[in-house]
């Protein structure tokens, strides 16, 4: 998506028709909007959100009041007043114009107006032939260009970034899916669904033309697949149950926290639960370290016998005087070639002296053995010396595990006591809440148990299906038609398995690539020694990688902001890289992405402002930044000035008599940011800076 221009009419504080606000791209890809507080920076961000997705950012107050107050006051009673936003953009060779209107009716009542609602947006597009068409599936089209689940990254509210760093599990799934969708992975998902159904059609054809045995096998397989489907449905149901019970538990905990009689006990329980989770994580991590230690070093303790026989052999050679050999093969060979000994005796063929020197050849061969023995001796000693270290580390890890286990058991005892206390609390509300909590917990455990046993059933069914598949393939087909039908089923099976495998690799590949890119971007912007992490379910985190073990650290607001910027920058980079590949999965339609940011510098210190300011233009193809004068002046302006293509000033007309004058200097000209309203209305105007 390449933004061309945005135009507003009577939208929120922007009175009348705004100039067409152009967004350029290329080397200078930054468009800046400068305005004081309340001048409409957040409104501009939300004009994109409302138009494209029908949403507003969290800090956007009174979202039902979209029509400009001055426009309403100036309208005649009974007339309809409109606010609208129109965006022109280009995508994949097409030009688009999207427009959305909100209406109010001017009345004589106290409020002065009643809402008439929003009209459905209109979307028109023109291809290379210049002919304009109306598009009805607007959300589908927009969703494919910039997925809604990712829109908070592309339309970025710098003042409310905590949701981006700490999304819920559901939000994380949505983000991951949307990012993959942007990269074209939906094509694989759809191909899997469709090919699966086609495969069934082809199998039915085979059943029609096949013999009795094949028919039986196919029927058996279909029954197993049906059973699998039912179990999957049950698993989804169980997941919903678990979520529901979990929610119920959280609500009960919240209520208990509010009750004066037990709020301290509940606080203790919260603390213990958090501590227990920490211990469980530590136990898992120590287990992993132990497994790693054993895999890499445990072999040394089994080498005792081998090192002993090596020592015995060397000792024997030494006893026999064969080691050290003290003489080299080459030396003896030279003497024999020259036919003269070091004592000057001639070494003629068949002479006794020659025979005596030739005998040395056999013993001289041991010089090689000696050299190897010395080298191996060193290695063997190293292995032997490493054994106590290995046991030391294992003991230490085992101790840590023991402590964690003991702590978990202690915490569980304390939690049991708390449970008991609450259950027997004389106040009925409390004991009843605790009983309900127990029920929810028991239901969660039961559902998890059933899920585990279902997983096993699914695994067994898949094994059965695989074995039936090979039986069907192997089954002798007599008829030519049956052979052909069988080959087609095999081809569909093979294609399906490969697309599934490809999809599976894509997941890991995508996450790995994304993390690499996030780490790189983060390190270029951040001064900390911290390293970003990305969990399997796309939870962003930070670890301190200075010590031996990477320790999680709590990200500050500034770091969270840099993480979020790194995340979106990485997704864009990955999409661009995918698009650039000629041979590959059918990737995104375009490699052009805009980022619109409201106050992205608010939480950053001066140093960070410079770093972030310098990198923002590189994050996306087009960058639109809304800033206050204080955020812009100094470091940010210095870092970004070479990249700015257009600057707009949001002039705020105030009705206050005593207001602080605020102005901005651009290219040697001074622009007022706040001026006295000439007509008793508060509103804003957008002025282009030449």
């Amino acid at each position: 998506m390449r933004l061309i221009s945005l135009q507003l009419n009577n939208f929120r504080q922007f009175y009348g028709l705004s100039p067409e606000l152009h967004f350029l791209h290329g080397e200078k890809n930054v468009t800046v909007f400068l305005g004081t507080n309340g001048a409409g920076k957040t409104t501009l961000l939300n004009s994109f959100n409302w138009l494209l997705y029908g949403t507003f950012t969290k800090g956007f107050l009174l979202p039902e009041q979209l029509v400009n107050k001055r426009a309403i006051r100036e309208a005649q009673e009974g007339s309809t007043v409109e606010a609208w936003v129109q965006l022109k953009f280009e995508h994949d060779g097409r030009k688009y114009v999207i427009k959305k209107i909100a209406q109010v009716l001017k009345t004589g009542n106290e409020n002065g107006w009643v809402p008439r609602g929003e009209l459905a947006p209109t979307l028109q597009w023109a291809g290379p032939d210049g002919k304009w068409n109306n598009e009805e599936r607007i959300s589908d089209i927009i969703g494919r260009i910039l997925p809604e689940d990712l829109h908070t990254y592309f339309f970025f509210d710098g003042e409310r970034i905590e949701r981006i760093m700490q999304p819920t599990k559901k939000e994380r799934e949505e983000i991951a899916n949307a990012a993959k969708k942007l990269l074209g992975v939906e094509i694989l998902d759809r191909a899997i669904i469709h090919l699966n159904s086609v495969r069934k059609d082809l199998e039915s054809e085979l059943k029609e033309v096949g013999d009795a045995e094949t028919k039986k096998l196919v029927e058996e397989k279909q029954a197993a697949e049906e059973e699998c489907k039912n179990i999957y449905q049950r698993q989804e149901e169980l997941d919903r149950n678990i979520d529901g019970q979990q929610e119920r538990k959280t609500e009960i905990d919240l209520r208990l926290r509010q009750l004066d009689e037990v709020k301290n006990i509940q606080a203790k329980r919260d603390e213990l639960t958090a501590e227990k989770e920490k211990r469980i994580k530590s136990l898992q991590s120590t287990g992993d370290q132990l497994a790693k230690e054993i895999t890499s070093n445990a072999y040394s303790i089994f080498l005792g016998y081998a090192t002993q026989s090596f020592q015995d052999l060397i000792d024997l050679l030494r006893k026999r005087g064969e080691l050290p050999s003290g003489i080299k093969t080459q030396f003896v060979k030279d003497l024999l070639d020259k036919k003269i000994c070091i004592c000057n005796s001639p070494l003629e063929e068949s002479s006794i002296a020659r025979k005596a020197v030739e005998d040395w050849m056999g013993r001289a061969g041991l010089a090689d053995v000696e050299e190897k023995a010395i080298r191996m001796g060193g290695e063997v000693t190293k292995i032997e010396q490493s054994i106590p270290g290995f046991w030391g580390r294992v003991d230490q890890l085992q101790d840590r595990r023991r402590t964690d286990r003991e702590e978990i058991s202690r915490i569980e005892d304390e939690l049991d006591e708390i449970r008991e206390k609450l259950r027997n609390n004389p106040k009925e509300e409390i004991s009843s809440l605790e009983k309900q909590r127990d029920e929810a917990e028991a239901a969660i455990i039961e559902a998890n148990r059933e899920k585990g046993s279902n997983d096993e059933k699914i695994r067994a069914l898949y094994e059965k299906i695989d074995s039936l598949d090979s039986k069907i393939v192997k089954h002798q087909a007599n008829e030519e038609r049956q052979k052909l039908a069988q080959r087609r089923v095999e081809a569909a099976n093979d294609a399906l398995a490969r697309i599934k495998r490809s999809r599976q690799i894509f997941d890991v590949y995508f996450r790995d690539n994304l993390l690499k890119r996030i780490t790189k971007l983060f390190s270029t912007m951040s001064f900390t020694p911290y390293r970003p992490t990305l969990s399997e379910d796309y939870e962003l985190g930070l670890v301190d990688s200075q010590g031996k073990d990477a320790m999680p650290v709590a990200a500050s607001t500034g770091e969270s902001q840099i993480m979020s910027l790194s995340f979106i920058g990485s997704i864009i980079e990955e999409a661009r890289a995918n698009h650039a590949k000629k041979e590959g999965l059918p990737g995104p339609d375009s490699s052009t992405f805009p980022v619109v940011m409201d106050s992205p510098f608010g939480y950053l210190s001066d140093n960070y402002r410079f770093q972030v300011g310098e990198h923002i233009p590189k994050l996306a193809s087009q960058v639109v930044v809304m800033v206050s004068n204080t955020q812009w002046r100094g470091k940010v302006e210095q870092a970004m000035s070479g990249k700015v293509n257009k600057t707009y000033v949001l002039v705020y007309y105030t009705t206050e008599d005593n207001f602080d004058k605020e102005f901005v200097e651009i290219n040697g000209n001074s622009y007022d940011l706040v001026v006295q309203s000439p007509n008793g209305f508060e509103y804003s105007e957008i002025v282009e800076v030449n």
Binding site: R137, D140, I141, R144, G184, E186, I187, L188, R190, A191, H194, L195, S197, V198, D201, L202, L484, R487, R488, A491, A492, D494, A495, A497, R498, I499, R501, S502, R503, I505, F506, Y509, D512, E583, G584, L585, P586
Partner: protein, 54 residues
């Protein structure tokens, strides 16, 4: 030495040639109909398989 990581395209490119052709044609069909929520595409896929496996 660490083995080179498998790329998402490997399972497709390493397939017998007719399977690679089938997969690429199917993915192209899917991409063309990506803007439709529920495209009717199964008969096109069957056609592809029948054309490639004669």
């Amino acid at each position: 030495m660490e083995n080179k990581k498998e790329s998402p395209l490997d399972p497709i490119n390493n397939a017998p040639s007719e399977i690679t052709k089938i997969i690429k044609r199917i993915l192209r069909l899917e991409k063309d109909k990506l803007s439709q929520k529920k495209p009717h595409i199964n008969s096109d896929i069957i056609k592809v398989i029948k054309e490639e496996i004669q």
